[in-house]
Amino acid sequence: MATIAYEPKRPNIASANVQLPAVRDYEQVDTEITATLRPTKAWFAALLVAMLCLALGISAWMYQIWGGLGVAGYNPPVMWGVYIITFVFWVGIGHAGTLISAILYLFRAGFRTTIYRAAEAMTVFAVMTAGLFPIIHIGRPWKFFWLIPYPNWRLLWPQFKSPLVWDVFAISTYLTISTTFLFVGLIPDIAILRDRETNPLRKKILAFLSFGWRNTEREWRHFARAYLFLAAVSTPLVLSVHSVVSFDFAMALTPGWHTTIFPPYFVAGAIFSGIGMVFTIIIPIRKWFNLRHYVTLNHLDAAAKLALATSLIVGCAYMVEFFIAWYGGVKAEQDYFWNRVFGQWWWAAWIMLTCNMILPLSLFSQQLRRNPTWLWILSIFINIGMWFERFVIVVPSLSHEYEPWQWTTYAPTWVDYTILLGSFGWFFMWFLLFIRQLPVIALAEVKEIVPPRLKHAHAHTPDAADDFEPETPGAHS
């Protein structure tokens, strides 16, 4: 054994080249990962809970459509509330998927391989969830199509100066591209499922969905190019879509909204919240489906660093907001920020600051970065914190504007909360259905990093199997 001249105690993890030592051959990859497709009692129970939440949310929405928006907790001039907050929350979550699958793909960040499929599915479902909220939020939801520029005999177009119209384009574009990207990445995997499927009907459907994939070199060449191009197309969207969402606020002259830092601040926040949600989803999956040797601690460690980086950006943005409010000298803006942090809304602001700025500082500790339990707990705090970030942006601004006579407060009602719950039901219903139908870890991409010598089945050595979760930081990287 050669002597190692210098071995740092806490080696840095090279995230570009994360290996999977416990994965030996293609067959193992197929069997272990497709194990998620077998329904279990827990899966059914989870789906039931999700659909129950969804049913509650739908009932509440029906009541709201019938009764009018007054059943929600709006308190003018707080004309936007839980629905817009939740809209931005889900759009934000939708950003991590494309970041991981597209941007990290372009940057050749190896740790994305085993988490990107889950993140990408999460993106599609989060955007699907987010897209509902502008409709839930408006006074006459049955007229929402007036926001879409369609030809009509009255020659009426939407107001193209309105950020809400930009939203329509941004969200629909993002949903289209991310769905396409998800689907294209799935083609080789669907072909694998097709090959393993025994039910003739399902086999036919999977054959259709896989576009008759035959695993030829030519197909792979085209696939790789297509994937690369789609990644390149998606990449600017990650930055632009949430910038556009931030314009909903930044273009208004409301104190607390009217600020140029919003686009980068929102994008960083979106990625932060998205990674939080990835942790929330992927940590239980790797545990319950025994996929810890695919999503290793090295992967989590690398992803946690990304979370830490975005948390620092977001925290910096908070500080810049305060600084500019003071430096800008506009009385309404200063009053608003004081009221936000030390006045009426101190509790919301401090939930936000604690969850998004203070708690993620724990990720400077490598031990905590490699502790899935802590990461999962932290991810819940990040989700809460990011929801409250949008709360703090939407509600305190509107409740404390230029006109002191119209300063108010805001308290959501059970309808707001039930529709919020319903949105989680809707999201998790889709996600649960997804993991039951399609591989939650990309089969083809995992196979790419399995060493060639292990491509075919061979005798297992027990010591290698025990080593799937690297206790030593940096092992196998």
Binding site: G70, N75, R140, Q159, E403, P404
Partner: protein, 1025 residues
């Protein structure tokens, strides 16, 4: 001749297809309709003067209070839709208060009696008029047979006119005593003192001639005396700027007049008389200071100022043991100071309070009723069961009267105890006459057919005389014949009574269009009353004084079932749909009470538990409660809304026979419970935002700009309202084509000429008193729903089921609101009592859509539901609105209102216009649906109406030809509307006033509403206060 086809049996294929096609198409067309098919049926024979869709106007007299203002009621297709002031009327000169406008909601009140009713087995059941009149006749007959007819009581709501002679004639014929002309709102001490000193009940108060006005607890801008003429004159006086009077208010609570005052002297309840005596030189300032708990130097300064300022105007209000002494002293002072004939003009007396009977007469009535001596009780209009002090015990005594008849048209606590209801017409359906100003008669005429099956009381009484000869009369045949002969001379109906007075039908017809003619009414003499011993302050237990007051809206309780008045916040406290106990923050702190905590006020007469409200305008040793709410049986909007402060008052009278409303001793204790305060106030301070600006007279005259008016980011220079604003080139139409150079209607040279105009408004804060009449005018004109009723919130919601629940979520829909700011640097709860300077400067500012030339709301609407019209209006298209509410978020003025519920849908609990309230809806304005945004439109229907009229008549719009509803109603004449781009309009001159400013000018919104700064009149040099 028959064709072969017709002779064949059965249906031919072609015919079948034709039928199929036609029926199919018809079915499809019917199916396309989204609602029930409704039919428009034209008149077979059109009534005279009625053109569908064109308004008719009727001049009449307002009966909502005793003043007798002139109204012009607009009717459309036979329905009264609007009550405006009569510009020719000497009392109100075209202005009208909130209460007067809300007379329409009395006319269309959904709780009005549909027809006569009789009590059977404890409940009131409908009955036919013939049977009802028969029952009246029988009841009267029984009363007469009982031999106690001389004790019968007829209580009539006090009004000017001829009905009193008619009633007394009828009562005399029935051997009954003269009726009681009752008005709980009448200021008796002042009336008595006026009669004693000036010889008239109510002289004209010429505010404009005065340089100094001192009000001794007379809230002459809100519910005291004759609010509209007082406010008109006061605002005129203050609008003069140079030579405008300074106003000093003396009293334990600071009401609306106090807010408008330049100085508030917070004398202890019931001690204002000491200050009057001091001014008269009868007591020393030191003695007065001791009695009133006011710093001596304040009183000395006042003394100096009154002595040196001529002419002045001293007004006495107040109630309590020494109210008459105070009023007499003040009136005498006016005489001594030489004000009579200058600022107090007995020669131009108002007729409002002539003949009003002091409430103290009820003392004997109650005593008689208790003894069972009263055989019959008749009530018309008044509600003595509610609006009498609890200590009087009126309700309990009524139960001992065997025959109780009400002629009131709306249910109330008194009708609930009556056996027979013979509902009168509403005032707007009735004939009548008044002498509002000495020598001038105001006519009252029906503005529409009766809404319900009601009958004029005079007609009913006449009809009840039909079964002659009088079978119950004494056997004195001669007297009987004399009565019969008298009655035969009576006109057939009350219209005839009015016509007979002014000389017949022809003069009546000639006078009706203007509603005015010269003449006079018979002199009325009020009977004297037995005065109950006044409760001397300090006699009863309790460490606090109670100050109850009536504002203009609820009055003595008569306004409570009108949703406009319930929803309109009190001009001072900004409370609506709720009764609160007002206490000074220092008092609250001492008791450990926070705003909304329940407190119990206990007097010798009763208790009241209501939420506490921190009011900096009430002395720390006093708590104030407004009367008028807390009804138990006065209709859906009144019942269980608030608490009844009459229940706290003892049966004591002031020395003129009025009720003692102020100065009763009470104890206040904190109890369990907390309620949300139902208020429209967010923060009552400006936080340095420069919304309501003021300038002192000296600074204005010297041209000095105060320092605190500077803002960071303030736009440099002055600009005309919106004229420099960019043309709204984002508008659609011809501009929808990006390649087109056509500006369309936005081109000033366009044939429509719209772009040449710029509609704008100025609001003079030196005149605005904050009375809020404009708000009700806006509700009436623009079909704004009231949202505060208990059932107008969400259906499925566990809490927030209380009157005003929607208001606690700030969901009021008032397109125009009155903001009342105090110049404070801290929150109310931290305000300490400052005896030297108790009155914090208050400013009121009406806030409405500013119709910005560069409107922030316009570019953010994704569907063009709000856009800029060529003439500068910021237009809201309800049909296009999808309800994103972004426009409201981006509005710095927060003047956009959202329809959270289906307030305009009849099948919903939240429906704001239950039958027949919806008859009042203005047909020119849409009733907005659920889920759309709305806001002030500058009364666009009036603008387009005037433009169309001018076009039809082939002329240009004349300057000041029309105005908005708020400006038309404003009793301060503070609002001026017009075309700012045309120099002929008044508004174009006013926007260049030296006091003009825009709110949030620094945001570059280029508003079309220009405010003129309020003017403060500090105490003159040398007199430090």
């Amino acid at each position: 001749m028959t064709t072969p086809a017709e002779t064949t049996n059965g249906v031919k294929r072609r015919d079948f297809l034709k039928v199929l096609g036609v029926t199919g198409a018809a079915t499809t067309m019917v199916g396309c309709s989204t609602d029930q098919v409704e039919k428009l049926i034209p008149y077979v024979t059109s009534p005279d003067n009625s053109v569908p869709g064109v308004s008719n106007f009727y001049a009449t007299t307002c009966r909502e209070c005793a003043a007798g203002c002139g109204l012009i009621v607009e009717t459309r297709d036979g329905r009264a839709i609007r009550a405006d002031g009569n510009p020719d009327h000497p009392v109100n000169r075209g202005a009208v208060c909130a209460r007067g406008q809300a007379s329409l909601q009395g006319l269309y009140n959904p709780d009005r009696f549909r027809g006569p009713m009789i009590r059977q087995g404890g409940t009131l059941v409908p009955i036919a008029w013939d049977a009802a009149i028969d029952a009246l006749h029988k009841g009267v007959d029984t009363a007469m047979k009982s031999g106690k007819a001389g004790n019968a009581v007829f209580i009539n709501q006090h009004e000017q006119g001829l009905l009193h002679t008619f009633l007394d004639g009828w009562l005399k014929y029935r051997d009954m005593p003269a009726h009681i002309s009752y008005d709980a709102e009448a200021p008796f001490a002042t009336i008595a003192a006026n009669k004693a000193v000036y010889g008239v009940a109510w002289p004209k108060l010429d505010f404009g001639a005065a340089r100094l006005i001192v009000s001794f607890a007379a809230d002459f801008l809100d519910g005291w005396g004759l609010p509209v003429p007082q406010q008109l004159d006061f605002a005129d006086a203050r609008g003069k700027i140079e030579g405008a009077p300074r106003l000093v208010y003396i009293g334990p609570r600071r009401p609306l007049t106090g807010l408008n005052a330049d100085q508030w002297i917070a004398a202890k309840p019931g001690t204002a008389g000491m200050i009057a005596q001091m001014l008269a030189g009868k007591v020393t300032p030191a003695a007065a200071a001791k009695a009133t708990d006011v710093p001596q130097k304040t009183l000395e300064a006042l003394q100096k100022e009154v002595a040196s300022t001529k002419p002045s105007l001293l007004i006495a209000g107040g109630s309590g043991p020494k109210a008459l002494d105070l009023a007499t002293e003040v009136n005498t002072l006016n005489r001594t100071l030489g004000n009579v004939g200058v600022t107090v003009k007995p020669a131009e007396a108002y007729g409002a309070w002539e003949g009003v009977v002091p409430p103290a007469v009820l003392n004997d009535v109650v005593a008689a009723m208790e003894k069972g001596d009263v055989p019959a009780l008749f009530v018309r209009g008044a509600n003595p069961v509610y609006s009498t002090p609890a200590g009087l015990g009126f309700a309990a005594a009524v139960a001992k009267v065997p025959f109780k008849v009400s002629f009131s048209s709306v249910p109330d606590e008194t009708t609930a105890l009556c056996d027979l209801i013979l509902p009168d017409h509403h005032a707007l359906e009735s004939w009548g006459i008044a002498e509002p100003v000495k020598g001038t008669l105001g006519l009252q005429q029906p503005t529409m057919d009766p809404v319900f099956n009601t009958r004029s009381t005079a007609d009913v009484l006449l009809a009840s005389l039909k079964p002659l000869p009088c079978f119950a009369c004494p056997a004195d045949a001669a007297e009987d014949r004399q009565h019969a002969a008298d009655i035969a001379k009576w006109p057939a109906d009350y219209r005839g009574v009015v016509a007979a007075h002014i000389g017949g039908n022809a003069p009546l017809q000639a006078a009706l269009p203007k509603g005015l003619l010269t003449g006079s009414l018979p002199v009325r003499v009020a009977p004297t009353a037995r005065i109950m011993k006044p409760a001397i302050a300090g006699e009863a237990n309790g460490e606090y004084y109670l100050a109850t007051y009536a504002n203009l809206l609820m009055g003595d309780g008569r306004g409570a079932n009108k949703p406009w008045l319930q929803e309109l916040p009190d001009p001072v406290t900004k409370i609506c749909w709720q009764t609160v106990v007002e206490m000074h923050p220092e008092t609250a702190k001492k008791m450990g009470v926070e705003a909304g905590d329940h407190v119990t006020v206990k007097t010798a007469a009763g208790t009241l538990t209501a939420p506490a409200f921190l009011y900096i305008g009430v002395r720390p040793d006093t708590v104030a409660v407004m009367v008028g709410r807390g009804h138990t049986n006065a209709g859906r909007y009144a019942n269980n809304t608030g608490h009844n402060a009459w229940g706290l008052l003892p049966a004591s009278n002031d020395s003129a026979g009025g009720y003692q409303l102020v100065g009763v001793r009470c104890s206040v204790t904190k109890v369990d419970g907390h309620s949300m305060i139902v208020t429209t106030e967010g923060s009552g301070r400006q936080h340095g935002r420069g919304i309501a600006r003021a300038v002192s007279l000296q600074d204005l005259l010297s041209g000095k700009e105060p320092e605190h008016e500077e803002f960071i980011g303030q736009a440099p220079g002055k600009f005309l309202p919106g004229l420099r604003a960019p043309v709204a080139n984002d508008a659609q139409g011809e501009l929808g084509d990006p390649k087109s150079n056509e500006m369309g209607e936005y081109d000033p040279k366009h044939v429509s000429g719209r772009a040449k105009r710029r509609w704008a408004m100025t609001i003079d804060l030196a005149k605005c008193t904050g009375c809020s009449a404009c708000v009700t005018a806006c509700y009436a004109e623009n079909n704004i729903p009231t949202v505060g009723a208990e059932w107008q919130g969400p259906i499925l919601y566990p809490d927030r089921k209380f009157p005003g629940a929607n208001i606690t979520r700030s969901r009021e829909m008032a397109w125009l609101r009155l903001e009342r700011y105090y110049e404070l640097d801290r929150e109310y709860k931290d305000v300490a009592w400052n005896a030297d300077q108790p009155g914090v400067e208050a400013r009121v500012i009406p806030m409405l859509c500013q119709h910005c030339g560069n409107a922030p709301c316009e570019p953010v609407c994704p569907v063009y539901a709000t856009y800029h019209a060529p003439d500068g209006l910021n237009v809201q298209v309800y049909n296009r609105c999808v309800g994103t509410r972004y426009c409201s978020n981006n509005c710095p003025y927060k003047v956009r209102y959202f329809n959270w519920f289906g307030y305009g849908e009849p099948d919903r609990a939240q429906y704001a216009f239950p039958e027949p309230l919806h008859w009042q809806l203005n047909p020119d304005v849409t009733v907005r649906g659920k889920g759309v945004m709305e806001k002030c439109s500058f009364c666009v229907q009036r603008i387009r109406g005037a433009e169309t009229l001018a076009k039809v008549q082939g002329r240009e719009l004349a300057a000041d030809e029309f105005t908005t509803a708020c400006a038309a109603a404003c009793p301060s004449r503070a609002i001026v509307f017009g075309d700012a781009a045309d120099a002929n309009w008044s508004v174009a001159k006013l926007i260049d006033d030296r006091r003009a400013y825009h709110v949030f000018e620094e945001l570059n919104t280029y508003t079309a509403v220009v405010y003129l700064k309020k003017i403060n009149h500090p105490a003159p040099a040398g007199a430090t206060a």
